[in-house]
């Protein structure tokens, strides 16, 4: 069994997405997953779950394993709890049990680190310590602009590689211009002597919000178009000001306001904006301030198959909440998962790496 610890230099680099792409690509292998130091806590049925761990267990089809081993898959989130429950030897033992109990009878065990390379260091739950502890292979995901990637790569070359761990290589993720990167950065990285497992381009569709995801996160009431909640919001229009004229003639004249898959956020009393949105290729409408529009508008939305969500917060707060949201991957986001598989297949030599 190959034991791979996946970490990243910075938060939100795409560790979970990459693992998800790998497991959905390689059906010939059996995978196991654990995330000892959780960072996205979900409290349900008097248990705490890590969001990423929950997603991966679902993708791997091992929900039963999650039920029985949830405290092994994620040991904890906060230092206070982990310190209370484990001493140094206890952490070693818990990591060993992950290998034996969760990893057993699998070809590959992925252990995802906390949010970045240093998270959990105080408790020996950082990526390097875990790699040493389980005698695994460390893979680091880097992402960001070209400068940021080069900085991170140099840092790894100078410090991480020297720690004596089995360093498997790096995956460079979310590269905005892959050709430019190949031309300017790849030679420099080669000089550093770091193994690059893959260089994955940035794909905007991975950042889109499905309407059902927004409905769930905003605790919204669905007023219309429930069967179209899989619609994807590609761009967001915020209709707050009276100076914004939601005229059918004017919106297409402004390129930033046109295009398909728009999400309109506006007050429930702005029937002018809502009606304009309903006549266009709109992915969905979020109505704010708990104001339910006229029944005719709801009927029209149902006719057009455009989901209309109702939230209690005002337009500014709603927009800010969405702006702060991470487009977290979900099991049902099959389009995104399929895209991730394609990216892994096309832009990495993961198949070779896992041999």
């Amino acid at each position: 069994m190959k034991k791979i610890v996946v970490s990243s230099m910075r938060r939100n680099s795409g560790k979970t997405s990459i693992i998800a792409g790998i497991v959905s690509l390689m059906h010939d292998k059996k995978f196991a997953y654990a995330k000892p130091l959780g960072d996205r806590l979900i409290y349900r049925k008097k248990r705490s779950w890590d969001y990423d761990a929950s997603l991966m267990v679902n993708l791997l089809g091992r929900q039963g394993e999650m039920e029985s081993h949830c405290e092994k898959i994620t040991l904890g989130f906060d230092h206070s709890r982990l310190k209370y429950m484990y001493d140094k030897e206890g952490i070693e033992r818990a990591l060993a049990e992950i290998v034996t109990d969760i990893g057993a009878e699998n070809d590959v065990l992925f252990i995802e680190s906390g949010k970045d390379l240093t998270a959990g260091a105080y408790l020996n739950l950082d990526a390097v310590s875990m790699t040493k502890s389980i005698d695994g292979v460390l893979v680091i995901v880097v992402s960001g602009d070209d400068d940021c990637v080069l900085d991170d790569m140099r840092f790894i070359e100078k410090y991480v590689k020297l720690e004596g761990v089995h360093f498997g290589g790096v995956i460079i993720n979310k590269i905005s211009d892959i050709e430019e990167f190949e031309a300017s950065c790849t030679p420099v990285i080669r000089e550093m002597g770091l193994d690059v497992i893959g260089a994955i381009p940035y794909e905007e569709p991975l950042t889109y919000f499905p309407l059902d995801f927004l409905a769930d996160k905003l605790l919204a009431r669905v007023l219309a178009g429930e069967e179209h909640l899989k619609n994807i919001a590609r761009t967001i229009l915020i209709g707050t000001s009276a100076t914004f004229v939601a005229d059918k003639e004017q919106i297409p004249a402004r390129p930033e306001l046109s295009g398909t898959g728009q999400l309109m956020i506006t007050g429930g009393d702005r029937s002018d904006l809502i009606l304009a949105a309903l006549e266009r290729d709109t992915a969905g409408i979020i109505l704010t301030n708990d104001i339910v529009p006229h029944q005719n508008i709801i009927s029209r939305a149902n006719e057009r198959g455009i989901p209309v969500l109702l939230v209690g917060t005002d337009t500014f707060q709603t927009a800010r909440t969405i702006d702060d949201m991470e487009p977290l991957l979900r099991k049902q986001d099959t389009g995104k998962i399929s895209l991730l598989s394609q990216l892994i297949e096309k832009h990495t030599n993961m198949a070779e790496f896992l041999k």
Partner: protein
Amino acid sequence: MDNTTPYDIQYLFEPKSIAVIGASQNKKKIGYAVFNNIVSGGYQGNVFPVSPKGGDVDGHKIFSDILDIDEEIDCASIVIPADLVKDAVKKCALKKVKFLQIITSGFSEVGNVHEEKEIFDIASQAGTRIVGPNMFGLYSRAASLNSTFSAAKISPGHVAILTQSGALGIAMISKTAVANLGLSAIISIGNKCDVDEADLLAYLIQNDDTKVIFIYIEGVKKGERLIEALKVATGKKPVIVIKSGKSKRGAQAAASHTGSLAGSDDIFDAIMKQCGVLRAECLEDAFNWCKFMISGSAPRTRNTVIVTNGGGVGVMATDACEKYGVSLYDDQAALRGLYEAVTPSFGSTKNPIDLTGAAGGTEYTRAFSVTAESEDIGSTIGLYCETATFDSGNLAQMIQETYARHQKNGKPISYALIGGKQVENAITALIAERIPVFNDVEQAVSCMGAFYRYHNYLDEVSRKIDEYAVDTAAINAVIDRAAGAGRTFLLANEGAAVLRAADIAMPQSKIARSIQEAVQFAGEIGYPVVLKVVSKDILHKSDAGGVLLDLDDEKEVIVGYEAIMHHCRMYKPNAVIEGIEVAEMVKKGIELIIGARRDPSFGPVIMCGLGGIYVEIMKDISFRAVPINRSIALSMLEEIRSYPLLLGARGEEKKDIESVIDTIIKIGSIIRTCERITDIEVNPIEVYEAKSGIKAVDARILISRMKEDTQ
């Protein structure tokens, strides 16, 4: 006199001498009307007109200055322009006038608060008391004194009227004349800069001419004084109140009208009930009740009988009896025995006693004689529908005779007469004789209802006060800490400490500052437990994911502690988290709310009702002014619609009502003894089965900003 001892209010109503400052020879002026009313009304004391113009009025020499009068002046009526009032008050103070009636307006009711205060200060330094400003004078039967500027003649009688509205008061004088409602006194209180309702009640309570007191009130300034005065007054004679400013809009009009703020109507209504005051909705009801109350003595039984010649009005009266709380005599066998002989065979001896449309004067007289004489019957409602078989010309005589018979036996009776001109003539004639007849069933029954409400109050009222010895030192220490931190509210654990200082059962709880402590405390308290974040920065704990319920073991506490810390940091990253409260998981009972607040008008009041998260929607609550006793606390519970839940609805066991009463008394004692607490809300209070106690789950307590504010 010693300035600290106020003059007896009797000097206001029964002065030996009165000066009219602003007396005028011009008959169109108020200064003349007041002087003329005093003189022509038969006042036997000395009257001194005062005006700088001098001369004489109706043969009386006008003094140019009150200081020129050699004799002692008990009372002065001031009827001069507002800008001259201050000088006049200075001179009255020098003259040691005991009471001033300041009729002049233009003070706090139009925003001129400062000058009103100056006038009050000048007078009070000399011990001189002020009624008004902005009042219309007074009438006192005891002194045959009419110092009002009313045009109507006031007929002497037994009703005393206190009114905050001058114009309405003047109109009421005319209306009482039309209704033939004789007065023992009428006085308008105006802006109440000094003398208020409580002062005036002190006189009317001991005034033998006054049998009923009617108060028109717009706003209450010194509510606690008024409550005490009303309690004493209602112990002696009925008090009827109309309070305007019930609606929000009405309250605003009242504020601009009198310079006084109308209080919350719910609280006012509850406190009036608590004091035994009868609250009328309109002047007509108030006058009707006054008329009826004058003649009524205490009922011997609560059994009322309706005598009618029409089934329809009988049913209307029966409905009205239920509405106004009049109990109908229901012993069918006894009723048959009493009325069979006087009721035709096709009539009914069930209450209402239906004499049928064939009944004439003789049948009515015989039936009323039974009600007047029977020991089992306490009062009668007589109904008459005009018929051809009864000569309506004889109606008045029949009623005079039957009324006299009831009066002789000390039994109240009210009549509703419905018909045409002859019936209306009879009503007019009977009103002239002050017999309680009405042209509407509702009015006749409403009077009887008011009569019984008053006497029921007298039967049940107790002056006993139940209080709990609260540990005020412990509460003050909690408040000091919160005030020291610049807060005007107490944190959950501080609120719990306040309730514990009054021995109110709270779930056991401790504040844990680590997982170790949380696990230790949960073990000590016993599972299941509740975890709640404690942070002054997170008031809505549930919204922040800061509350977890029903945690059954150590593992769940560990996970829960971590989850709360995690959620709260996400909710408000900069929040200072003092710890996590580990509390006993309270088992479900009937959820009540008990609260108390320092009302700006009435001082400390207590509230109880159906609790939980729907308090605002259900609004099933009752109020009382504190202090109270256990019986009043019980009456608060009986008043709420949800009371049957406490008695055990749908086969459930009766709940621990005694513990609820204890808690009401304790919270009342906290608000009374801890002056820095402005509001307490304990919600929910879980009430368990009888003898199983209660648990107060959460307490929100507000405190005043500064200690000095209330000391």
